[in-house]
């Protein structure tokens, strides 16, 4: 907006201004003799104004008719006040008041995200009160040179010198310092090193640690922690009765659990949260990704084999370049294609390619470096030493990365059973193929007739058009077909195409990449991407440029591949060395980058991983933000401990299992969740960072479902394989899902209980069709990296767990199994408590349970239930986009034609049903879903 009175206003105050300006321009004697206020301005206030104010209040923009880029302009005031700055009176200057956000409509800067801290507002106030001196630019430079606090970080260079030379507070640079190898504090010589660090701080706080958890609690904690399931009653018993010392007995438990193949399933799940694993591609078509599941199994195997973490990194980032003949390393590169991505005839090639490159750059940063790099896509990072140049230099590492669905024979260590779904898909294929063909034939017959009648050769329309026959003489489109026919034919054709593509998951394809030149347009989604014949000669060399403001079409300066330059020894612009340089060749970029990541000299990578592992063990990180070690992330609560663990991690050949052992053998891990002096604890440790007491957690959705299956005895222990198809809420399973020009097929569960009742990690994860049970229990969306799961309490959880069919069927199965294996009702109840809670029922529990069973049995005696019915077909209705007319078509559900259902209410007697009521209550109880 333009304010016409601006000029008059200027003229009006001009007189006073001269006097003031004169008064203020007292020359600085000896060029070096600066007042504190001048230093305050040059070092603190000016950078703040620059960062927070100048972008709106400059002499081009004039927001609020106020210019802040010079003292003279500020003294002129703005639209709302002439007292923006009253030299000598900071308290009453609007400039200060507005930054405090205490005066309505005057909050500045207006964005909450930009709001100044209290200390920052004081800087402004004190500067004004001290007379608001504004030294010349030269003097400011001299002051900065001589007195500036904070640290300049050498990087590959920002978009402007101000950014390049800006200073950082030391506390915000902790993550870029070399990893120290501190000696544990020696308050107690016998202390476990982890405890030495933890307890040292505890004593400083004047807190004593909680006593150790009892063995029953501890084994439940450790078992859920390492394998995501409850301990069996026998395992509890063995541990409780183990006569060896607490340390030894627990070490045995930990070793056993680490050797359990279910360990890889639990900890692989954590990793897959970070890398955003899903079985489908998202967006309009949400195609299933045929080989993605082999990456998922690779991750699980890697954890089970305790693959050294440096190798794990190398394989995921550059397996194809590093070990081109190792199937495992090729499968690992699936990591590079985990983001949602799609290219269709309706998307723009430049945009989708850039979208891929931006995504992979950011996820590499979050996953391995604990730095979301996305912030530096459009501008130099606002708070961290990441220039935009680094974003595009790292992106350039991936500029020669092309998609390739490589054929890699199934390996011995892969599970390739579970191809039952193939039969269902084949039936679906032929069903829709028939519909499609029948309608084509119908049209062809009509066209034939028409052509004969009009004396035109009976050829496809497009061919006739090419021969120059005018449009009005051609047979009308879709001749002989009703509006419904048109719709059904189109939908059917698309389902055929889609199904054929998705059936590639039964073939030994890997969702992988290859280094090579870039094709002119990215591969269209919905087609397998064959390995290029010669990736080095087909396509063009993709150059990398800074994209101005992140705009794919705004090409800025060219960049060459590089690394995160602010890290020690990593600035190749300053000094090129073997560690930090990435070749510009087509091949070898990722390999060099992976080596840089997996080198012990990289200070972020080991810290990042030990912090992740710690976070899952304690439901709390040493750094609270495992994906962000930058200035906006948390600061380490125990920095020496973090470095100590990182050092041990690297020293142990990057063994994650050794890291578990080290952490879990500490008292900090084994502490009780109970604490005698809670008030004192709350007072001394309000942010709960002391580890005086162990933090309980709610089970994840996967753990809840898997535990129910485990308690009922139904859980199929098979490791790995094609995406499993458990039953999910039937309304959601049959929910029509639109894809381009058609519908995705209904979700049909696997036909046998064994195939359905697999661990949840194996359940097919479709972005557009989330299992509502998992969704309500905080399973993160695969669209974003998840560093740690929320565990909120929302009402739909009750509907899912208390009303839903899944928990009902687990309850019935549990009841059947308990009745089969126990003689008396008392022992049934006892067994239920042991399985579900890891403890015997107290007498009061037992009486409540037995009474309930009896009472519910009476209710059930009068009830009868209809057997479950499974739909054999669903009717879809849609609007034909060409005609706007509604049409219907039938989709057959072949899985239900030969379906072995889990026992339902109608299949069991009143006694079993009543016991199932009791089991359902147990599954819903807090004791079942919380671990202490």
């Amino acid at each position: 907006m333009i304010y016409p009175f601006k000029i008059t206003l200027k003229q009006f105050v001009a007189g006073q201004l001269f006097a003031l300006a004169f008064l203020l321009s007292v020359p600085a004697w000896g060029a070096d003799d600066y007042t504190d206020a001048e230093k305050l301005f040059a070092l603190k206030v000016k950078p703040l104004l620059k960062q927070k104010c100048f972008s709106c209040h400059n002499d081009e923009d004039l927001k609020g008719d106020l210019v802040m880029t010079s003292l003279e302009d500020m003294l002129l005031g703005g639209e709302s006040s002439d007292e923006v700055l009253i030299p000598g009176d900071g308290e009453n200057s609007l400039m200060y008041i507005s930054t405090t956000w205490t005066l309505e409509d005057y909050e500045m800067p207006p964005k909450e995200a930009d709001k100044l801290s209290e200390e920052q507002t004081w800087l402004i106030r004190d500067w004004i009160t001290a007379g608001s001196p504004w030294p010349s630019d030269e003097d400011q430079a001299i002051i900065a040179e001589k007195y500036a606090e904070g640290i300049v970080v050498q990087t590959s260079g920002g978009l402007d010198d101000d950014w390049t030379n800006r200073r950082y507070e030391e506390k915000d640079l902790w993550a870029y310092q070399p990893i120290a190898d501190p000696t544990p504090p020696a308050r107690s010589k016998r202390a476990h090193p982890v405890d030495a660090f933890i307890d040292d701080k505890l004593y400083d706080l004047g807190l004593s640690p909680a006593k150790l958890a009892d063995r029953r609690t501890l084994i439940r904690r450790a078992t859920f922690d390492l394998i995501g399931l409850p301990p069996t009653p026998e395992e509890v018993n063995d541990f409780v009765r183990d006569r060896s010392s607490d340390d030894k007995a627990f070490a045995k438990v930990v070793d056993r659990l680490l050797d359990d193949p279910r360990y890889g399933e639990q900890w692989g799940r954590h990793w897959l949260d970070v890398v955003r694993y899903a079985d489908s591609a998202g967006f309009a078509n949400d195609y299933e990704r045929p080989g993605a599941w082999r990456y998922r199994d690779y991750v699980i195997r890697a954890f089970n084999q305790d693959k050294p973490f440096d190798q794990f990194i190398m394989e995921q980032v550059a397996g194809d370049e590093w070990k081109p003949d190792d199937p495992e390393a090729l499968l690992a590169t699936g990591f590079l294609r985990m983001g949602s991505w799609e290219h269709t005839s309706m998307t723009v090639a430049r945009i989708t390619r850039q979208q891929y490159l931006d995504d992979v750059t950011d996820i590499v940063g979050q996953t391995f470096l604990s730095h979301p790099l996305q912030c530096a896509r459009c501008h130099d990072h606002k708070v961290d030493p990441i220039p935009t140049k680094d974003f595009y230099r790292i992106q350039s590492v991936f500029a020669t990365t092309q998609f390739a669905d490589r054929e890699i024979p199934f390996q011995e260590n892969e599970t390739i059973t579970g191809f039952d779904e193939k039969e269902v898909m084949e039936k679906r294929l032929s069903y829709f193929d028939n519909i499609h063909k029948t309608l084509n034939a119908k049209e062809a017959a009509a066209v034939k007739e028409w052509c004969e009648k009009h004396g035109i050769p009976n050829k496809p329309r497009a061919q006739l058009a090419k021969q120059g026959i005018p449009d009005e003489k051609l047979p009308p489109r879709s001749l002989g077909l009703t509006s419904e026919d048109i719709g059904v034919r189109k939908v059917g054709g698309m389902v055929v195409k889609r199904t054929k593509f998705e059936m590639n998951k039964f073939e030994p394809f890997a969702h992988s990449v290859v280094s090579g030149l870039s094709p002119e347009v990215p591969p269209l989604s919905g087609k397998m991407v064959a390995m290029p014949g010669d990736p080095m000669s087909e396509g063009e060399m993709e150059m990398s440029y800074i994209r101005i403001s992140g705009d794919p079409f705004a090409q800025g300066p060219k960049v060459t591949p590089g690394v995160f330059s602010a890290l020690p020894d990593s600035n190749d612009v300053l000094e090129k060395n073997d560690f930090n340089s990435i070749p510009e060749t087509v091949e070898g970029r990722r390999l060099a980058f992976a080596k840089w990541l997996a080198n012990p000299k990289n200070v972020l990578v080991p810290r990042s991983m030990v912090n992740r592992v710690w976070t899952y063990h304690f439901s709390k990180g040493i750094v609270d933000t495992p994906n962000n070690f930058g200035a906006m992330g948390g600061k380490p609560s125990h920095p020496e401990l973090l470095d100590y663990l990182a050092s041990r991690f690297v020293e142990s050949d990057w063994s994650v299992k050794d890291l578990h052992r080290l952490i879990m053998s500490s008292n900090a891990y084994r502490r009780s969740t109970e604490y005698k002096h809670r008030d004192r604890l709350a007072e001394k440790d309000p942010t709960a960072k002391s580890y005086a007491v162990f933090k309980p957690r709610r089970l994840s959705g996967e753990e809840i479902r898997d535990s129910m299956l485990y308690v009922s005895g139904e859980l199929n222990p098979l490791v790995g394989g094609l995406p499993a198809l458990p039953e999910i809420n039937m309304d959601v399973a049959l929910q029509p899902r639109q894809v381009m020009g058609s519908f995705a097929a209904s979700y049909e569960p696997a036909q046998t209980p064994e195939a359905r009742n697999r661990r949840s990690i194996y359940a097919k994860k479709v972005r557009g069709l989330r299992n509502p049970f998992m969704e309500v229990f905080n399973q993160p969306s695969p669209d974003e990296s998840c560093e740690f799961r929320q565990s909120s309490t929302v009402t739909p959880q009750v509907f899912s767990l208390f009303n839903g069919e899944d928990s009902l069927h687990r309850s019935i199965a549990t009841a059947i199994d308990l009745l089969e294996n126990n003689k008396s009702r008392k022992s049934v109840v006892e067994a239920l408590f042991l399985r579900a809670y890891g403890r015997k029922p107290a007498r009061s529990d037992r009486n409540l349970a037995l009474d309930h069973w009896e009472q519910m049995e009476k209710r059930h005696e009068g009830l009868s239930f209809e057997p479950r019915e499974f739909p054999r077909e669903v009717t879809r209705s849609a609007v034909e986009e060409m005609t706007g007319a509604s049409f219907e078509f039938k989709e057959r559900l072949f899985a239900f034609e030969d379906y072995q259902a889990d026992p339902g209410l109608a299949d069991v007697d009143a006694e079993t049903r009543a016991l199932a009521d009791l089991c359902l209550v147990v599954f819903n109880s807090n004791e079942f879903v919380y671990v202490y």
Partner: protein, 483 residues
């Protein structure tokens, strides 16, 4: 605000502040007491807010013009040219050929193209003279309650990305929906119902449920879809044959177990929240079916929405339900209707679509007005983008339809605080691009929030290392849309 008024405000503020300071110095004892008391009171307020739950009503940042929002989402991209922004110039250009080359175009949009005129004439309606094409009959009666906006530009021509953009502010999905932000900012009046309810078509739109996802906001702010068929909320009812009394027995035992457990872990706050949740769920289970039962409405009302007529039944039911939900204190309702992607046969396709919503929407506006609810309710009508004045060849021939167009579209607002009876912004002569009062989607979002009393710059959530907001990095209110 005038400068003078602002100066006064500022002076008052200063006086108040100095008074406070003096009070503090001269009567320290009393002040301290009252400060402490105030502190306690605000603590109580915080505590009671926490106890009331995350959906409890919160103070807006600004004086709100509307309290609730009904968002009508036309999935597929309705044509502005064939609805509210007629382009007679296309009549003379009809079927004229031209070539388009554009690096920003998808494969679908390039090659030889031809112009397509609208099958319909248009006329001006209401006092404000808004333009509507022939098929709009009923909406014309409430035209003066509507503010049409022709200046919005999207950034994507692909359905799911454009839908995500319009619904969440982020083309690539995964961020919180507008409804999530609004309920996060304002809470909801009814604690027994979700604050953000979605009325999808039987088949979900392209891009699926992330269109109403909570993104990085807490799960309480997720849109809850009420399914048009089957049980409206998933697993709202226990398995068939299980009565509420039966379930109450199970709940009682659960409550016993949970109480015993709580006694062992009295410091674990989540446990109590989880217990309360079971009781809330039980209440919802009993109440929700009644709220959703639109057959409780009288025949006249149903007729108003076009219920009882095949063409308008489906959307009419949704809109009547939307009104009932808003009446019950639900903050944000989003209703979907699809099928607007008319690449061909636009007369039949758009004709049928318009017919299906014309009467229901007019009915909604009339009904809200009659009940005195229109001033409190903001109604938004839009698609994910507009359509092109031209088309490509389909199956080798000309087709009277239109492609996607991110550069031009029409949306409209009605109800609380909107500049009703006006048409804001304009597109060029053939409707290919907005040329006047042009704003990106984020500015529309900021304006919606503003009307509801929320300041986009203050409605933030810390996630992934920064404070995030609906507009992504800030946007502008479009003042022309506000009365």
């Amino acid at each position: 605000m005038t400068k003078k008024f602002k100066q006064e405000l500022l002076q008052n503020f200063k006086t108040a502040k100095s008074l406070n300071r003096r009070d503090f110095i001269y009567s320290m004892g009393a002040s301290l007491g009252s400060v402490a008391l105030a502190g306690m009171a605000s603590q109580k307020a915080v505590a009671s807010e926490a106890a009331a739950g995350p959906l409890s009503v919160k103070q807006p940042h600004l004086p709100p013009k509307a309290k609730n929002c009904i968002f009508l989402m036309m999935e597929g991209g309705p044509s502005h040219i064939d609805t509210f922004d007629p382009k007679p110039a296309l009549h003379d250009l009809h079927l004229q050929r031209f070539n388009r080359k554009n690096e920003m175009a998808s494969a679908m949009e390039t090659g030889t193209r031809y112009y397509v005129e609208s099958p319909w004439d248009a006329r001006q309606v209401g006092q404000g003279g808004a333009w509507m094409t022939e098929p709009w009959k009923h909406l014309a009666e409430v035209a003066d309650d509507i503010c049409f906006y022709r200046g919005c530009q999207a950034e994507s021509v692909n359905h799911p990305t454009a839908m995500y953009h319009m619904n969440t502010g982020n083309r690539f999905g995964g961020d919180p929906a507008v409804g999530s932000w609004v309920t996060y900012g304002l809470g909801s009046e009814n604690q027994d119902l979700p604050g953000f309810i979605v009325l999808p078509e039987l088949s979900y739109p392209q891009g699926g449920s992330p269109n109403w996802g909570n993104g990085y906001l807490p799960a309480h702010f997720q849109g809850t879809p009420l399914r048009p068929k089957g049980t409206p909320i998933l697993d709202l009812k226990p398995p068939a044959g299980i009565t509420p009394e039966h379930q109450r027995e199970n709940l009682n035992l659960l409550s016993c177990f949970n109480h015993d457990h709580l006694e062992e872990h009295p410091w674990q706050n989540d446990l109590e929240a989880r217990m309360t949740n079971y009781e809330l769920a039980f209440r919802m289970q009993m109440q929700v079916p009644g709220i959703l039962d639109i057959d409780q409405e009288d025949e006249k009302t149903k007729e108003l929405y076009g219920i009882g007529n095949d063409d308008t039944e489906s959307f009419g039911r949704k809109l009547l339900l939307a009104r009932r939900l808003v009446e019950k204190g639900v903050r944000f309702v989003q209703a979907y209707t699809g099928g607007w992607d008319s690449h061909d046969y636009i007369e039949r396709a758009h004709g049928a679509r318009i017919k299906s919503i014309d009467k229901p929407i007019a009915g909604l506006i009339k009904d809200l007005k009659a009940r005195g609810m229109l001033d409190d309710t903001l109604i938004v009508w839009c698609g994910e983008f507009g359509r092109s004045p031209d088309n490509g060849f389909r199956q080798g021939g000309e087709a009277y339809g239109r492609d996607h167009n991110a550069k031009a579209m029409t949306m409209w607002l009605a109800g609380g605080g909107v500049n009703a009876g006006h048409t804001i912004g304009a597109t060029d002569e053939i409707g290919s691009e907005a040329v006047d009062v042009v704003h990106p989607i984020r500015d529309v979002h900021v304006t919606l929030l503003h009307l509801l009393g929320l300041d986009d710059n203050r409605l933030t959530y810390f996630s992934g290392g920064r404070f995030k907001q609906l507009s992504q990095f800030g946007g502008k209110v479009i003042p022309e849309l506000i009365a």
